[in-house]
C-alpha cells in the first residue's frame, strides 16, 4: 500500500547534487562487497527521505533542506598547498601536548601526523580499513547506536576517510589524541568523514576533534565505544564558514566514565547531534557544550541520551552566547528504558542573548519508562544582568570588558567541568579570543 507520506516533493538542487555525487563516486569510494552494500542501503534511505527538514521532529529548528542550497563537489586528494594549510590548523591546542593526526579536506595526511608507536594504541585510516574489508571496522561501523537519521545515512553512503583508533584493554594513553580536520583551500568542496574509536576494558583515552571547515560542506561522524571500566574524554572544537553536520555515536560499557565537550564558535551553520547510550551499569557521563554565535550563525546541539541499563548517571549542560541575528538550538532528549532503575540524570541548557535579534530554541525532553529514577531538566534564556554590569563598570571596567567578564563567567561554569587543565585553558582561551573580537 502506498502511503501518502512517501510521496516526495520535487528534489532540491542539493539533494540532486548529492545523488549525482554518489552516483559518480560510487565505484571509487573505498570498500567493496559488504561495505558497498552498506553504502547502497544508506543511500537508498537518503534518496527516499531526502534531506531532513522542519517536519522531521529532530530537525525542526535546523531545516537542512532549506538551509543547504546546493551540494558542492566532493573534495579531491589534498595537494601541497592543502597540506601546508592543514599543518597550521588546530592551533587552539598548541599549548597542549597531543598526538596530532592531520586530515586535509577529509583525507589523512600521514607526513603531518604523529605516528610514533605507543604500546596498546593502534591507529589506522578509515579509507584503508574500508578498502581492505577490515573485520574490526566492519564489526563496529554503523553498529554503535542504531538510528535512521538521514544525515548519518548520507555520511555512511559517502564516507571516504577518517581515523580508526583502538586502545587496547588496560592501556592509559600517554597523550591526548588530536584529530585535526582542516580545509585545504578556500574552494567549496564536500567531505564525508567517518571515524571509529574503540577504547577497550579498563583503558583510558582523551580524544579531541578540531574542525576548521572553511568554505567546506562537512559531514562527519564518529563512533566511539567506551568499554567496561574505561575512561574516555571526548572534545570537539568546531569552526567554519559553510556547513558542518556532525554525528557522535557513543556506547558506554559498565562502570565507565565518559565525557564529551563541544565548543562551537565562528561557525556559520553547525549541527552537532549526539547519540549516547549507557549500555552497562554503574557508569557516569558528562555531556556538555558551549556555543558562541554572532552574525547569522546557526548552531544546533541535539542530544539523544539513552539510559538502557540501571545505576548510571548523566549530566548534560549546554550554554549558548548569542549576538547579532544568530540562532542557537538545543534539543536534549533523555530516554530512560523500563529496566534502567536508579538512573540519575540532570540536564540544563542556558542561553545568553546579547542582542534583541538573536534567537535561542531550547527543548529539553524526558522520556521515562522506569519508576525509580531521579531525572530533571531546566532551560533558561535571558540577557546580561544590567545590575551586575553597572557594578563592574562602577569599578572602572569598560562596557565591553564588563560584558566579556560576565560572559566568561556564564560559560565558565560549564568549562570548569573539564578535568584536563590544559584543555580547560585551551577551551577558555578560545572563548576569550571569540569575545575579544566582539565589535
Amino acid at each position: 500500500m502506498s502511503k501518502k507520506a512517501e510521496i516526495r516533493a520535487i528534489k532540491t538542487a542539493a539533494e540532486q547534487g548529492l545523488a549525482q555525487a554518489y552516483a559518480a563516486a560510487r565505484d571509487t569510494l573505498p570498500g567493496k562487497g559488504a561495505v558497498a552494500a552498506l553504502r547502497e542501503d544508506a543511500f537508498r534511505e537518503f534518496d527516499q527521505r531526502g534531506l531532513p527538514h522542519r517536519r522531521v521532529e529532530e530537525w525542526k529548528y535546523t531545516d537542512l533542506r532549506a538551509l543547504m542550497r546546493d551540494a558542492v563537489p566532493l573534495a579531491g586528494v589534498p595537494d601541497a598547498a592543502a597540506k601546508a594549510r592543514a599543518k597550521a590548523a588546530g592551533a587552539a591546542l598548541a599549548g597542549v601536548d597531543c598526538r596530532r593526526l592531520v586530515f586535509a579536506d577529509g583525507a589523512f595526511v600521514p607526513e603531518l601526523s604523529d605516528l610514533t608507536p605507543e604500546p596498546g594504541l593502534s591507529i589506522g585510516t578509515m579509507a584503508e580499513a574500508l578498502a581492505q574489508g577490515d573485520a574490526f571496522v566492519a564489526a563496529h561501523v554503523g553498529k554503535t547506536f542504531a538510528t535512521n537519521d538521514v544525515a548519518l545515512a548520507l555520511n555512511t553512503a559517502l564516507m571516504s576517510d577518517g581515523a580508526v583508533i583502538r586502545v587496547a584493554a588496560g592501556t592509559t594513553l600517554q597523550r591526548p589524541i588530536h584529530l585535526v580536520f582542516a580545509a585545504g583551500s578556500d574552494t567549496a568542496s564536500a567531505a564525508f568523514i567517518r571515524s571509529l574509536m574503540v577504547v577497550e576494558q579498563g583503558a583510558s583515552a582523551i580524544v579531541i576533534e578540531s574542525h576548521d571547515g572553511g568554505a567546506m560542506q562537512v559531514n562527519t561522524a564518529l563512533e566511539l565505544v567506551a568499554g567496561d571500566e574505561s575512561k574516555v574524554d571526548h572534545f570537539k572544537l568546531t569552526q567554519g564558514g559553510a556547513l558542518h553536520v556532525a554525528s557522535l555515536m557513543v556506547s558506554i560499557g559498565a562502570r565507565a566514565n565518559f565525557t564529551t565537550f563541544a565548543l562551537t564558535g565562528d561557525a556559520a551553520l553547525v549541527r552537532n547531534q549526539s547519540f549516547i547510550r549507557f549500555a552497562g551499569e554503574g557508569s557516569h557521563g558528562g555531556i556538555r557544550g558551549v556555543s558562541l554565535l554572532r552574525g547569522e550563525d546557526h548552531v544546533d546541539n541535539t542530544l539523544q541520551i539513552e539510559h538502557a541499563v540501571a545505576h548510571c548517571d548523566s549530566r548534560e549542560q549546554f550554554k549558548a552566547v548569542l549576538d547579532g541575528e544568530s540562532r542557537s538550538v538545543f534539543q536534549g532528549k533523555i530516554v530512560v528504558k523500563p529496566h534502567a532503575q536508579k538512573t540519575d540524570s540532570k540536564m540544563m541548557t542556558r542561553a545568553l542573548l546579547l542582542s534583541d535579534d538573536a534567537e535561542a530554541y531550547n527543548k529539553p525532553e524526558l522520556e521515562i519508562f522506569a519508576d525509580d529514577v531521579v531525572c530533571g531538566h531546566g532551560a533558561t534564556a535571558g540577557a546580561l544582568d544590567p545590575g551586575l554590569k553597572f557594578y563592574l563598570m562602577s569599578r572602572g571596567i569598560s562596557d565591553k570588558e564588563s560584558e566579556a567578564l560576565l560572559i566568561q563567567a556564564f560559560i565558565g561554569e560549564t568549562v570548569e567541568e573539564i578535568e584536563h587543565e590544559g584543555l580547560r585553558e585551551a577551551v577558555m582561551n578560545q572563548a576569550i579570543l571569540w569575545l575579544s573580537r566582539r565589535a
Binding site: P386, S394, G396, L405
Partner: protein
C-alpha cells in the same frame, strides 16, 4: 576649588522626580555625612554620582574638580576617582574576587595612562589591605560576594575602595545590616582611608555610624534637596528630634 560641586540637580527615575534642585559642595579631604528620611533621595544621589542608567538628570550639573561628569559612563567616572560603596553589593557568580580587583584596578590605571600593576605587586597590595580588613584569602579566591554574609559584602566594598584609592568615595548606608563588631571593622577601614586628598560622602539613616566615622559636616536631605547643614552635632540633634521637622518644613 571644591572637589565636588552639585548645582541645582534635578533627577527623575521612571518618570518620578526624586532630586529637586539639590545643591551640595564637598571640599577636598572633607568627610560629609548625608542624612535624611526614607525616600528623601539619598541613594538616588549616590547612584547619580556613580552614573547608573535610568537616572535622568533633567537639570543642573555635577562638577568633579571643575569638570562635568554627567556625560561620562560609570567606568570613566571611576577612573576619575569616583567610588560608590553599594548599599546592597551584588553577587557576581563566576568572577573571582581577585580577578575582579585586578581587572578593575588595571582598567582604571590604563584609562588614566598609568602603567598596570605587576602581578607580585598587586598580590602584595591585596594581601596587606585585606588582612587589615579581616578579609580572608579564601574570600579573595571566591566569586565576588557569592555566599558572603552581609558584613562580608560590606567589608569587600571597603577592600575595593582601599585598593582603588578614589578621590571621592560615596558610602551608601554602609552601616545597614552590620552588627556592632562588623561596624567597627568597616569604620576603621574607612577611617584609615581618610586623607587630605580624599573626600567622602557618608550616607546613613542613623547617627550610630557617625560615632565611628566622625564627619566634618552633616547635610540633611529631604524631598530631594539639602534642607539643613551643620557640624557633627547636627547628627546628635536629629537622633533626638527625628526628621519630622524637615519633612513638614519642606512640605
Amino acid at each position: 576649588m571644591s572637589l565636588l560641586e552639585i548645582k541645582n540637580l534635578h533627577v527623575e527615575v521612571e518618570g518620578k522626580k526624586i532630586l529637586n534642585g539639590l545643591n551640595l559642595t564637598i571640599e577636598k579631604g572633607q568627610v560629609a555625612a548625608i542624612m535624611g528620611p526614607n525616600g528623601s533621595g539619598k541613594s538616588t544621589l549616590a547612584y547619580v554620582l556613580a552614573g547608573k542608567d535610568n537616572y535622568h538628570v533633567t537639570e543642573g550639573e555635577v562638577l568633579l574638580n571643575g569638570e562635568s561628569i554627567l556625560d561620562m559612563a560609570p567606568d570613566e567616572r571611576a577612573a576619575k576617582g569616583v567610588f560608590l560603596a553599594f548599599q546592597y553589593p551584588v553577587e557576581v557568580p563566576g568572577v573571582a574576587t581577585m580577578t575582579f580587583l585586578r581587572t578593575a584596578l588595571n582598567a582604571q590605571r590604563k584609562t588614566r595612562g598609568e602603567p598596570e600593576f605587576s602581578t607580585p605587586d598587586f598580590i602584595k597590595l591585596v594581601r596587606d589591605t585585606s588582612a587589615k580588613l579581616g578579609v580572608s584569602q579564601e574570600h579573595l579566591r571566591r566569586a565576588v560576594n557569592v555566599g558572603f554574609s552581609g558584613g562580608e559584602k560590606k567589608r569587600n566594598e571597603i577592600l575595593q575602595m582601599a585598593i582603588l584609592q578614589p578621590v571621592l568615595a560615596v558610602l551608601d548606608e554602609t552601616d545597614s545590616g552590620l552588627d556592632i563588631d562588623a561596624l567597627k571593622t568597616v569604620s576603621e577601614g574607612v577611617n584609615r582611608l581618610r586623607s587630605p586628598d580624599r573626600s567622602m560622602i557618608v550616607i546613613t539613616h542613623y547617627q550610630r555610624l557617625l560615632d565611628y566615622i566622625v564627619p566634618d559636616v552633616v547635610h540633611v536631605i529631604s524631598k530631594g534637596r539639602v534642607v539643613k547643614t551643620g557640624g557633627k552635632e547636627l547628627a546628635l540633634e536629629l537622633e533626638a528630634t527625628g526628621y519630622a521637622q524637615f519633612t513638614e518644613a519642606a512640605a
